[in-house]
Amino acid sequence: MTKNLRIKTSKFIDETYKVSFKFNRKTYYGFKGDTLASALLANDIHLVGRSFKYHRPRGIMTAGSEEPNAIVQLHSNTSRTEPNVRATEIEIYEGLEASSQNCWPTVNFDIGGINNFLSPVLPAGFYYKTFMWPASFWEKYEYFIRKSAGLGKSPKESDPDIYEHKYIHCDVLIIGAGISGIMAAKIAAKNGFKTLLVDEKPYLGGSTIYQNSEHFKINNQLSSSWLEKEINEIKKIKNLEIKTRTSVAAFHGYNFLLARENLTDHLPLEQRNNKTRHRLLKIRAKKVITATGSLERPLIFNNNDRPGILLSSAIDKYANLFGVVCGEKNVLFTNNDSAYETAISLYQKGINIEAIIDNREEIDSKLIKEIEKNNIKIHKGYTIVNTFGYKRIKKVSIMKLSKDGQKVIGSKEYINCDCLGITGGWTPAVHLFTQSGGKLKFRDEDQVFIPNIYPSDQVSIGSCNGDFTLDEILSTTPRILKEFLNLKKIDYEDLEIQSSFNKSKRNIWLLPSDKVIGKTKPFVDYQNDATAKDIKLALREGFRSIEHVKRYTTTGMGTDQGKLGNMHALGIISETTGSKIGELGTTTFRPPYTPLTFGTIVGRNVGEYFDIFRRTPIHDWHVKNKAEFENVGQWKRAWYYPKNGENMNDAVQRESKAARDSAGILDASTLGKIDIQGTDASEFLNRVYTNSWSKLAIGKCRYGLMLNEDGMVYDDGVTTRLDENHYIMTTTTGGAATVLGKLEDYLQTEWPELDVYLTSVTDHYATISVCGPNSKKILSQVFPDLDFKDEHFPHMSFKNGKIDKIKCRVMRISFTGELSYEINIQANYAKAVWEKCIEIGKKFNITPYGTETMHLLRAEKGFIIVGQDTDATMTPIDLQMDWIVSKKKYDFIGKRSLYRSDTIREDRKQLVGLLTENPDEVLEEGAQIVADIKKSPIEMLGHVTSSYYSPNLKKSIALGVVKGGKNMMGQKLIIPMENKQINVTVADPVFLDKENKRLNA
């Protein structure tokens, strides 16, 4: 490759700064300022990848973020590898390594290319139709389909880069720094608005900045020179912040936008360490000005996807911005004037143009005259019917279009070429506008959707608003901005504009060929290999809605979201079905506008910061004493404390035994604690709990069950009356926040007349639970001043205690069935008190136990855990806890629901105990319970909710819910497992100490 495809025109390329990079393992050179695409084109490489389904050779098609074909894998097999990167966006740097995707063994020889020849049997919906039978085989098919499909490869190592999130608040956000965006930024910032201007490119000025045509002038200067001065001027404005390489990904309601600022992707790898790679900007703007420009449309004709076929504007951009010649024998194919702009700029640079093929029959404009003057052949009223060349276009065949544009007539002519520029006019980039909830309208004259109804304080300007020509942009934009920003006088009101663009266009969505459509390949969605033929097939099969056609044919579902071809898909549907495009509507544009890395989305929330977690004040002691932890809600709770290499089972058996034989100690600080005060506190508790609270004496504790209004158990816990109008409520660990929220809801919205104040004190107090027959002896030494005699400090009562000067609340309550005390203490003293209990308890073999042992001990007593033994379908009656439901109270939350026709059914699932025939067999939690294994289908009666081996009873015990279980005492049931059946007997859920003697042991 010794061809010189560089032309010296561009000030954006630094030819003194050579950059080497690798593409498919081969080393090439480019210049600083090149994108990977421009550097490859300068090395005469068009073929960069294979298409998704047919594995057809594909080349670079565009020069921007809309690129469907030229997507590559960067730095394969490294931690920084990234799939599906658009070669047109990535700036080259020293050491860049890129490779083609979706091809094997190489992009030049790809085995999958056989799919191209199989394509007659691979129509739209092929996979759906072929692999749905028999259904059970899908898993086997899927493996092979997934293997042969897919684009890039995701990284296998963790990402070494740093990502972050940042909030930005501004008065005016301007998206897009093309000519209209620059004008808007100047006007907004100069009038005192705090302004932010963002653009996805590394430079400002959009496509105007590289226009050097005499035909487009502002105030008698070249449009690019005029714009350059404007850019230099706005860079000096203080209240204007400019961010390049920043792509807006999402535009949500209320002017909330997400943008990705790319900080290091253009740097050599070794310069990226310890720098933030991407920053996700969360922008809240009072006003948004969208100036996102427009995307050039391709033309849809047979074999319109070969390497060497580019958008006409892309050829222009490569020549003017990057100084790269895309081909030496160029042909342009157009239905409008913009191809002539390209032709003139190529011609002026001495680049050869073989011919221009124009759909239009009668055309006349300054641009066209100039082309004709230079003896470039224009085929008026012609279309391309086919293209030739497998890995690079070699030739096109053209024929005359019929008057209605539906047929070709006359004889075929051939034109040799190595590059074909196509243009089907322009599509306003309304993606962000519609994401924000904006409604579009269809403009029939030039067949475009433009913004119509704005859902928030925003406006679209420039070509994304349908103003395509320079004179339209410069005359409309100042007027729109003046009104939008409510200004009296602004710059730009008296610009002198010279623009030679003629707006005539002959729109034919699908260009005819001399072959029948079945024999052609007119691609609509290049990335997903969807052709016009597929769309027509979908319509024949009865699909009508654009959303359905899209999903069936996968048109517009690639990583480029069909930025090029979506309009044509609509056009073809409308032509085929005879409906109007405006009435068909568009498919939904969803964020992100261009793909985001996962790193950008999660920012700093990785590793231990992925989710917040809470630690009790005693946490460090648990760590030091080698506890294993489990996650309970957001809490890290000590699960068990293995000693001398014990496994969980051994540790739990030891801990459970020690707690019943002598003394155990548990960190229960995670229990939710709500401080309740006010003259109506007792009445409030009466209304929120099922049992009665009016008569609870000061200094006494009571267990309460809280229901939802639908009668289902919501939470439980012990509440203590500290004083006449002062209670402390405990909730389950996981329920703390929602219980407080629910209580506040009732207090504020249903019972505002009640004088009650709720305060969450979960974090303020730690809770240490000491249980077992020796707990009283230990507590008496921890609190030598307190009277622990049963008659003065009975079960379910409370006393204020002191350790030195530190005030504590001591409750005698039990979740284990043992004699048991809970110490509530200000959190910062908790660890010291815990250590004191351990120290004093040593002679009683005090054993720290975790949540697993706690669960076992309470299960021995048949105490429920809300959320484990209950779900949102269990009433207190189902739990056999009728005793806690007050018959006397007129009302409480959920009372009326307890006698709805459904809740009084006898055959509801009810909580029962389960004993296994073999006392050593421990059931699996969640296992199904059945009565009759022979019946088909087998009726599921319920499931096991809690199951343990009890070291104190020396047998397996379980709780479960069983349909009508209450009346099945002693009945035999079956637990069918994968390889066996386990026989169980329904039993009382209280397995140990039914008389509660141990509470006063």
């Binding site: 506040e744 504020q748 505002p752 009302d891």
Partner: protein, 91 residues
Amino acid sequence: MFIINCPYCGEREQSEFKAGGEAHIVRPKQPTELSDDQWAEYLFMRKNIKGIQFERWVHTHGCRKWFNVIRDTSNDMIKAVYKMGEKPPTK
């Protein structure tokens, strides 16, 4: 993400709030007097309107106060915000 004008704190991000369903459903004063159907009407039946909807919101990560919001569910525009116990603005 909306901006909600909390009647106690002023304009805040939606992420500080939680939605609490349809507004102006009063808990019956005498539930025991109600038939199953009447109770079910209170308990389960909620409107799901495309357009103007009256809703309850709570400023969970702020003042923890409940209040009412009138929102157009078709475009998420909030028409009015008023305190619990107040009548909706008539406009």
